[in-house]
Amino acid sequence: GAGVSQSPSNKVTEKGKDVELRCDPISGHTALYWYRQRLGQGLEFLIYFQGNSAPDKSGLPSDRFSAERTGESVSTLTIQRTQQEDSAVYLCASSFFRVDQPQHFGDGTRLSIL
């Protein structure tokens, strides 16, 4: 079946520009997560959505970062006024809302800020 889909797969932009990253979760998965992975490093939690509940934004590193989710489907992560330190792979994952369920990850968006 279809997995988590992220677009674009690669994005190169100039410092100061805004970028929007998209995530299509697996159908039926009510939980959706965004992570940042810097080169050679682990996963940094950014934000979590569950159904129509208020998202957990505790991992967003600054107010330049924001995310939205339409119901239980598509999510977009927006980075305004990009900085070079924003260069990373941004991973999206979705899961059923049960604590014993694993996350399913997309292949990520590789963001490069020039």
Partner: protein, 115 residues
Amino acid sequence: AQSVAQPEDQVNVAEGNPLTVKCTYSVSGNPYLFWYVQYPNRGLQFLLKYITGDNLVKGSYGFEAEFNKSQTSFHLKKPSALVSDSALYFCAVRPATSGTYKYIFGTGTRLKVLA
């Protein structure tokens, strides 16, 4: 504080030899434990999980993991390594607490299987 530790940044093993990738955790209450693998330019793929029951869990691609409550460990193992197992491995824990939805990931261990 709740945490997951993967003490080895890299593990090298010869093809055909057994491999172990270590993971220890610190959480309140009972944990749900997961292993993921990441190949270059890909997202993480789920390998296996421990929820309850048998301490030895079997997963994809011949991997297994042993849950040890007294040592708070969940080491990933495979009896005979393949070159194609070379990848980045992440351990993750999710506290079995109602409403706790965050996964805590380790920093990853790079496995290199030598031909």
